[in-house]
Structure formats: C-alpha cells, structure tokens
Symmetry: C2
C-alpha cells in the first residue's frame, strides 16, 4: 500500500550521504535523484517514453514559462501538468522567482511582490508569493517551491534585504498553500556564500516548517569551495526526516559532492543544454561530438554506457547528424547525458546502501580529474 504522501523514509546513511524514499502522489521517489528540466512542459528533444526508458523518475517544469504560455489555467483545465505533458511520475515546479529575475525584465520589486515584463511579448505581469502558489496549485506538481528573491551570492547588503523578504514570503507561501494532500511545499534556504546568513535562513525556515527544504542561490557564479562549504554548514542543521534539494546543480562533480553533503534531489539544464550543443557528458568528462576526430569513429560515446544511444549509435553517426543539423542528434545526446547523471545517482544510492559511498565517490572524482586534461574528451 502507498505510504502517506510526503513522508520521507531514510533507508541508509553513510556519513552525511543519504539513501531515501520520498512518497509522492505519483509514486515513491528513490533518492538521491537527478531531475531533468522540462522548462515549457517538455524535457527538450525527448519524449516522456524516452525519459522513462533512460531511468528518469522526477521531472522539473518551470512555473514562469507555463504561466506565460500556455497559461496555468489552460494546464489546469487539461487535467494538470501530469496529464498535459504525458508524464505520470513525480513532477517538481519551481516558484517562477528565478526566471523572473533572470529572464523577465523587472519593473518593480517591493515587499508585496515583483512586477515584470514577459520575455515572450513584453506584456506586464505581477508575481507575489500568493500568486506563485496559486499558479503552482493550478499546475499540480507533486513538489512545489516557495517564491523567493534571487540576490548575487557575494553582495552582502542586498542579500540581507533579500533574505528577510524571502523569509516573509516563505511564511506567506505556506499560508497560501492549501492543496497539502497532493502537493508538498518546500522552503528555500538562501543567504549567498555567508555562513551566518545561511544558518539564520535555515533556522527561520525550520520555524515555519516545510515537508522539504531546498538550497537556493548556489551554482550561480560562486566558487566550488564556497558551494561545498555552504552545504557543509547546512548539512547538520537540516532535519534528517525531510528531503533536501540542491537547486540548479548538475555536473558529475557537483552531484557527487552534493550527495556527500547530504543532498537528496538535484536538477539542472546542463545535460540537456549541452546535448543540443553537441557535447556528450560522461564520467570521463565532456566530449564535443562536432570534433573532426570523430568523423570515422565507430565507437559509442562511452563503451561502458548502457543507454539507448551508446547501445546503437557510433560517434561518427552522432557527428554526422549534428553536422547535418538533424533533430536526432539532440535527442540521442540528451538521452545519453541524462542517462549518465541518472545512473550516477542510482549508483551512488547503491553505494550508500552498501556502506561504501566514500570510496565510490573518490573513485568517480579521481577518474574525472585524470580525464579532465585528456584531449579526446575536451572540447
């Protein structure tokens, strides 16, 4: 029988690394997990069938994009995001905040919310915490996010102002969140690269209390040591019985380092975006398939990879279809790149359960650094 929605079972831990199961209305989600990004209600270049086949279990969609087009009311009328996009596994939506800051043109920010212009047609819109939650409830994802304010990670003055607002908005988001049996609202820890602000943020969010906690404002330009130190600061403060989501992170190196610091959920556009630009990711690094050296190369991207692409297609074919601007090139590389990250999170889970995560992580990271300087996997 299905567990009560949104309980998080900790199956095993290995130092800070965690193997868990997060129960959602669309199935039990095994963690650690990497979520492909389906910005406009589709993970670019692949079908939901491809996603299931390559092992995806959780998909992210963007509230900002779907609110603007086709409209959350349309998605709701069509049965919600799961029906709309043909994905019956768990879905996570962000709050729209990040995109308002990075894509829209901001007209005004105040304590009430944000006024911005659409990146599609310039039309003017207003987003408040209440509005973000209402949109996300219309979309109907299993995991929804608090509306927060994005600040430069090293701008202390602005971060302090944004942080207070983010906490006030988190309180309002929780108030606005009514569909609690079907959707879990996650709070977002902010505070840039400042340890004390991060601590204050997590304490404040724990007071409000959420079914899960996200770490925002990382992987936005700060150094790797800064990112990993912040995760180290947060790890003992976050409750063990709630899932932890590191937003926007998706390199092999960061996934391994994130899991080592207790992260359960990741998402990132990197594997799908790189795929559309001809780059294959593997545990050995990055390979640019447009390179002339692959013109007659009969090997798959990665001899050890079990994805559909590596089982059926050569580097020469991928290079040819990229050069010829064929859609299949983006599809096949997307399948490979997502499979790489998703099978990595699955392998990490097994290592945690087997109590050998540290040696597994060291092996992956040293492999990466050995290959980082080899010409045949650099772009």
């Amino acid at each position: 029988m299905a567990q009560q929605p949104f309980t998080f079972d900790l199956i095993a831990t290995d130092e800070a690394a965690r193997a868990g199961v997060f129960h959602t209305p669309h199935g039990a989600l095994e963690t650690p997990v990497f979520a492909p990004v389906g910005t406009q209600g589709t993970v670019k270049a692949v079908t939901p069938r491809d996603l299931s086949d390559l092992g995806a279990t959780l998909v992210l969609a963007n509230t900002y994009h779907l609110y603007l087009r086709p409209g959350d009311d349309v998605v709701h009328e069509l049965g919600g995001l799961h029906d709309f996009m043909g994905w019956d596994g768990p879905i996570l939506t962000d709050s729209g905040g990040f995109q308002v800051w990075s894509l829209g043109q901001i007209n005004a920010i105040d304590d009430e919310g944000v006024t911005f212009s659409s990146h599609i047609d310039g039309s003017r819109h207003r987003l408040t915490p209440e509005q973000s939650i209402a949109i996300q409830q219309n979309l109907g994802a299993d995991i929804i996010m608090c509306f927060d304010e994005l600040a430069d990670p090293d701008n202390l003055d602005y971060i302090q102002v944004a942080l207070e607002r983010t906490h006030a908005w988190a309180r309002r988001c929780k108030e606005a969140w009514t569909n609690r049996e079907r959707q879990a609202l996650f709070g977002i820890v902010q505070g840039g690269i400042f340890d004390d602000l991060r601590k204050r943020s997590v304490e404040e969010l724990l007071r409000i209390e959420f079914p899960g906690y996200a770490v925002g404002g990382l992987s936005v330009g700060e150094s790797k040591p800064d990112m990993y130190r912040i995760l180290d600061v947060l790890e003992p403060l976050l409750p063990a019985d709630r899932p932890r989501y590191l937003m926007g992170v998706g390199t092999v190196e960061d996934l391994v380092n994130g899991v080592a610091r207790g992260v359960d959920i990741f998402d990132c556009v990197l594997p799908t975006r790189e795929a559309r630009h001809g780059a294959a990711l593997s545990l050995h690094g990055r390979m640019n398939l447009l390179n002339a050296r692959y013109h007659r190369d009969p090997r798959p991207i990665d001899e050890a990879c079990e994805c559909y692409t590596c089982q059926h297609f050569s580097r020469a074919y991928l290079r040819h279809t990229f050069k010829a601007k064929e859609i299949i090139a983006a599809t096949l590389l997307t399948i490979h790149n997502l499979h790489t990250l998703i099978s990595l999170t699955r392998a990490m889970r097994e290592a945690i359960v087997a109590g050998r995560f540290a040696s597994f992580a060291n092996q992956i990271l040293s492999e990466l650094s050995i290959h980082a300087n080899k010409p045949d996997v650099s772009s």
Copy 2:
C-alpha cells in the same frame, strides 16, 4: 527458415490490389508498405525505436545526401547504412538522380552521366550509372535503384531523349550491380504522362529484367487523373511476381488509389515534412495544430488513432509545444503522421486478404471527401 532473398510471394489479390511478402536480407517485408524517408540517414525528428514502435518496416535513405555527407565510404567503413543509422529492418536507397536534378546545380548532362555542384558547399561532382550503383553498394541498402534522368512530365521532346538515356543507363546499372545476393536493383519506368512512352519504358525494362520495378516521374506536378491513368496503363504490363514501387507518393488518397492499381511500395517526405510544420494527417484530412481553436482542446488529434501521440497528448499540448518551438512537437506529429499512413497500408493489406478491398477503399475515399471541406481539419 528465411526465403531466398528477393523472392516476392503474392499472398492475395483483389482485382488489381495485391498483398505480398518481399523477402530481403533484413527480413520479410509485408506489402503494401509505406516507407518513411530518412534523407540523411535519419527519419527527421524520430529515433529508430520510435519507428519500430509506430509500425514502420521499410525506411528510405537518399544516396545523393549520404554520398556528399558523411560520404558513402564512411558509411561503408562503419558497417553500412543499417549499422550506421541503427535500423535493422529493410532499407531502400534511391539512385541520387532525383536530388541531382532537384537540389544540386547541374553543370552538364551527357550520355555518360551528370556533372553537378553540391547544394552544401558548391563542390563539383560527377554521377554516372556505374558511380550511383557503386555508392549504393557501399551504403548497403536492401533495395537499390537505377540511375535515371528526371524530365518534366509533360515535355514530350525532352522526355523522349531522357527516356532513351534512362533505358541505356538502366542497362549499365544492371551491369555494374554485383552485390546481387544482398541487394535487389529495381528498374524505373519513366515516360511522363504519355501512355505510349510508359509502355515502351516498361517493355524495355522487362527485357533488361530486374527483381523489382519502380514507377518514377509521377507526383511531380501532373494531375491526379494523369497519375492514375498511367498506373492503370502499367498495371497489366508489370509482372505479377515482382514488387512494384511508386516513388515519392504519400497522401492518403494516393496510397489508396495506388494500391487499387497494384502498387506494393510507397515513400514520401510528406508526412514527416508536414509534421515539422504543425500539420497532422488523418483519414479525415489535414489539421493545422497551430490554429488557435486548439488552445484548450483536450482531445487527441484523432480519437480512433492508436499511436503514442494520440494515446498520451492533447491537441492543446501539441499546439503549445509548437508555439513554444519545442522539438517534441515535431517528434509527436511525425509519429502520428507516419502511423496514419503505415496503419492505412496495413489495413489495406487486411482488406485485400479478406477480399473486401474495393469497399474499404471506397469508404476511405468517401470519408476523405466528406471531411475535405470541414473547417476543423483544414489549414
């Protein structure tokens, strides 16, 4: 046990319509059959896995394109087209002739062959009957075609010259064709819309003798009555024990009329090209998914269709993903359009075997004409 390659078993006939099995080194091909076009070694916007799933059995690839890029030597070195493109069912290649005439810039035509400039980089190339067969033997398709000369269907003077050359080239192609156990060479009947030239062409090709016969130079601007009359003229002249391939034809109406006139094999870019432009084909006509009327339409393209697209996605979703310029829109419509034509050929086969082809064909054609003027399926 597999039959001797390239025997054609006639399973049933119903007036001129035929249900057959063409034995190839990559499997027994049930006819009538519609072949999706994979110009550059991929059927645009779908994977071979999608193709198998939607019921495709035969795929066409273009000699002209693959010769220019990546080069037939590269494809050969990588194990031939089947390995290269990840398709282990039967493949058909054209001769390159049609594309030289329609895409390349012709520099000179003489009895020996054609000199042309590449549409990709302007480089100069020469194609002769011997060269076309050598390229096609490198590519390794199961069915290969004679190199012929394309002429305007109603230009009698030019057609007569081109026809003599086409017959001389057919003789040279047969001479050059050495890989006879692995590849079947088809002759191509030409002669435009002139009954007597068509008769002369088929008689000449029968003297040379091929394992199969194609009808070329139709669906290139002539009227439907002209096309159907030519097929009526050829039908009793073509040998019953060889497959018949009507090149470049792929509307619902033409497939039904072609099968009624004894055609076994069809190919056309129409369903895949229309898909990438937002048009869904069905037995009820053509539907432009970009139309605003579909903005909130929860129905699939065709309630009766069993394809992946119609089983999982609404018109509203297809419209949204087209508007948002997402690749999945082209993929899902390609799946639907190909499934429509391929399941139509399968249904025609069943009707022929059951001896009820005429009533089946009439039903399809009258359905088409009823819907042709309805606004919701017009563009």
